[in-house]
Symmetry: C2
Subunit: 540 residues, 2 copies
């Protein structure tokens, strides 16, 4: 947290003035976040706006006000910091996503998600890098090395999973949500791995060995990050089940869950793994086991606390990006040639559009080949939505761009300044314009969903056959599943419905081995004379 | 939070290694906090230990391990930082204390609390300062100015309200809890005000005008800090009631409550008020109005979230103090004369004991004079407990001592180093030794409480007459109150039972004006077609 404040205390004289500037910043940010929440609430019914855009707009307006007050010298009160983003803001968002994700839907589409997230990001990375090399080399934007072009590819392949969460609705479009969001999580990991690989590898001579090393590195990172997340989740479940914290204090249960989740993220950072993947899987495991081992009030508390922390972090990020976008220092390098900045931004936006189209449609086709029933296939309209919903670029892109093109948030090179301003432009444009158009687009391309979800909630007697294909991936009830999924009798069945079969054996394993050890739904903690948990008891 | 990380990014090269040292620190701290929680849970039934002492011991052991690993060079991984303490750790603890305090008991004892907290702290400050001047001047400890002696008075007058919360139990000893804890909050404010006053005023010539100015300054700070806290609480209640956030999202309600509470603290810091008082009163107002305006799940969430955050912050502070205590750098200045350090620490401990005795017993006598019934009076055994329970010195003392005697956590002057090591010794000794002895002492001095509370919980039919004097100040139910408090008929009644009468008129005012505007218990938000809140409905 403020582990480095100590080094800054040298110039502090009095207690009450100590770091008064940071007190001012905190006040401003907290007040602005409150304003965003209130405005977001008032705009809830609005069909265009969402909270991200509100925060971006408020952030930009505040930036303008600060710019005017400071006489055109300064527009922001804090320098964009990767650590603030990666260590404090991203963990709650990704953990909450894992904690609240509909697990069945996520794992049923696991192969498609991996295809999109890993292979798709690689395709997008190659296309954007090659496009940047081909086009920018001919333009007068200063010296960029091969490493810079590859970094551009990685930066603009990172979709904004935070924004995706806001424009897609898990209940209205469950398949799309799990595909796009799941892809986003894997994509984040892939981009960061690619980016680190680019910075570490000697890029002057690339051969097959190097490429294999990269692939191996990615597989190692994916496997170890996932394993760490699962281990942290299981450990928390085991500790809480074994010691039965709820006997003495609800707060200890909540504290252990929060701290173990954060610890898994920080351990992954410590070992240079993909912390995003780790905390995502830790969230999934915690919601499957740990959450069912705690008392009823801890359950309510953790569910809402994680959601609230994630919500505050999201607003903070967009406010921050909006305020930072007007930083006069970055723009003064490109002010002599505004045309070039506009050109570069447009080219990058074009490459983002093409790069994403180049993998969504072919990979959807591939994925559809493995599906037998028409309901499981991804329709063309759904493909267009997937393509569109993943176009937004956000704080991950910003953080990577700052890391590649600046030192401590500042740059003196013209080419670097152009890349920074272009990244800001792409982030703002894609978030605001693509973001604004996503909700209406979904309504046009997939008109049945909104209508349908309303029907489901108002008329529970709607004919089953009509809603089953959709409900199938929303319902997360194990009891339901046991009824619907037939026992696979033969190898032929395993081949025809692999995900159902895998799921069946997973459930058997879960019930026979995992739950007795780690708890989970229906588990009632044993303690002599303890009050029986009402919800746990009901479900057993 | 990490608003200053940006300035540290200059020496960062790769994304994953960015500030790797702080990643290591965070991992270690989070893991240690988890360990403290688990050990604290296992020691719950123990009659001596509490979580603070566990954390102090674990912190010291970790310090020893780090000292051995680093070859005797270093024992801590972070420098003690006032900002970390005052900006991030203290607000959740004090807010939660205000939020969970039994309001009726607190306000009924308000005059006694103010007497102890303000006048008592001043008496203690004068005695410790005069004692330090008288004794230390004769000892060979280096040059200390008059301002340093007065600072010593302020530093060692600050009781540790965090530790008090852990050794006293609100349900077992409600009167003592509200007196000692309420005093602790006012005391914190008084010490910080005194400390700031000492640093700002020209101490070479003190006259009556200066003294009056100091008193005026204190009264202004107290009034304005309280007003700000009340205003922030009422604003949050009004916004949530008016806009009815629960209609769309529980998370917005929780977020607004957390952010408004934190904003009140930071605003007080911004205007150089006593942020501790502000956030304490904001907690009281929020639990009286705002908390009743939100949905049922928000109520459960906020209650446990505030408690959990406070719990984590407390453990963190003690861990931190324990680890910092072994900092080799501070001890090397006094290593040539260990006798002097022991002498100074013993003298300070003695002054703390005398300084507290000098106000607890006389002021209790004064307070008893105004009470008519023997139950309302503070018995001698209770006075001893109050004296004892407020002897612990904690992180506030540490923070003030670092502020006065170091620059950025380091010092080169021998006298200053001695004061720092003595402060650490006093804090460790008072927390561990006095802390360990508080639970048994309460059991000896006030034997009926433990027994009684067990009787109440197991036998709800215990004769009323026996438990009424104790239950009277625990029960916080308004319905109960309306029955028990008679309508005051005359001025004589106001004079004989002032607190009851004030409370009666406050309830009338609250019901007639405040609740219709700000909500509160029994309020059901109006929204067309909204689901009626079950708890709000039941209580109406």
């Amino acid at each position: 947290m403020a582990f480095d404040f100590g080094t800054l205390l040298g110039n502090v004289d009095r207690l009450s003035t100590s770091d008064h500037q940071s007190v001012v910043s905190i006040n401003l940010f907290v007040a602005l976040i409150c304003a965003c929440i209130v405005i977001g609430h008032l705009l809830e019914e609005n069909r265009w706006m969402n909270e991200s855009i509100t925060a971006l707009v408020i952030g930009s307006c505040t930036g303008i006000v600060i710019l005017l007050i400071s006489g055109g010298k300064n527009s922001h009160i804090l320098v964009f910091s990767e650590d603030l983003f990666f260590i404090y803001l991203l963990p709650p968002i990704i953990f909450n996503a894992g904690f609240q994700v509909k697990k069945k839907s996520f794992f049923r589409n696991f192969s498609t998600i991996m295809l999109f997230g890993a292979l798709g990001t690689l395709i997008s990375f190659i296309i954007i890098s090659l496009g940047a090399i081909g086009i920018f080399k001919k333009m007068n934007i200063g010296s960029l090395e091969i490493g810079d072009y590859l970094a551009i590819g990685a930066i603009f392949s990172a979709t904004d999973s935070v924004c995706t969460l806001q424009v897609l609705n898990q209940d209205e479009t469950p398949l799309l949500y799990s595909l796009v969001f799941g892809e986003g999580v894997v994509n984040d990991a892939t981009s960061v791995v690619l980016f680190n690989a680019i910075q570490n590898f000697d890029l002057s001579h690339i051969d097959t060995g190097k490429a294999m090393e990269l692939v191996g590195n990615f597989l190692y990172l994916f496997a170890s990050s996932t394993a760490l997340g699962v281990a942290a989740g299981l450990l928390s479940a085991y500790i809480i089940k074994k010691l039965y914290f709820g006997r003495h204090s609800t707060d200890r249960e909540v504290a252990i869950m929060i701290l173990m989740a954060y610890l898994s993220y920080m351990l992954a950072e410590l070992f240079y793994l993909s912390a995003i993947l780790t905390v995502f899987f830790s969230g999934i495991v915690m919601s499957h086991y740990t959450w069912h081992n705690v008392t009823e009030s801890s359950r309510v508390t953790t569910k809402h606390t994680f959601a609230t922390l994630s919500f505050i972090a999201e607003i903070f990020i967009f406010l921050y990006v909006g305020m930072d976008a007007l930083d006069i220092e970055k723009w003064k390098f490109v002010s002599d040639s505004p045309g070039i900045s506009v050109q570069v931004s447009s080219i990058l936006l074009g490459l983002v559009l093409v790069g994403r189209a180049a993998f969504v449609f072919p990979l959807s086709f591939l994925s559809n080949l493995t599906k037998k029933t028409p309901e499981a296939k991804i329709s063309f309209n759904q493909q267009v939505t997937i393509w569109w919903a993943g176009l937004m670029r956000g704080a991950v892109s910003m953080a990577l761009a700052y890391n590649q093109f600046t030192r401590g948030g500042h740059t003196q090179l013209r080419a670097n300044a152009i890349m920074i301003t272009s990244t800001i432009t792409v982030v703002l444009f894609s978030t605001v314009v693509f973001g604004l158009m996503t909700k209406p687009l979904i309504r046009i391309l997939l008109p049945s969903h909104k209508h349908l979800s309303r029907m489901i909630s108002s008329e529970p007697t709607t004919p089953k056959s009509f809603i089953v294909p959709l409900l199938d991936s929303t319902q997360d009830s194990e009891a339901d599943l046991e009824r619907h999924v037939p026992r696979p009798h033969s190898l032929r069945m395993l081949l025809s419905t692999p995900s159902h079969t895998v799921h069946y054996y997973w459930r058997k394993f879960d019930n026979a081995f995992m739950r007795p050890v780690f708890g989970g739904r229906g588990f009632v903690p044993f303690a002599p004379g303890s009050p029986t948990d009402p919800v746990g008891g009901n479900l057993q």
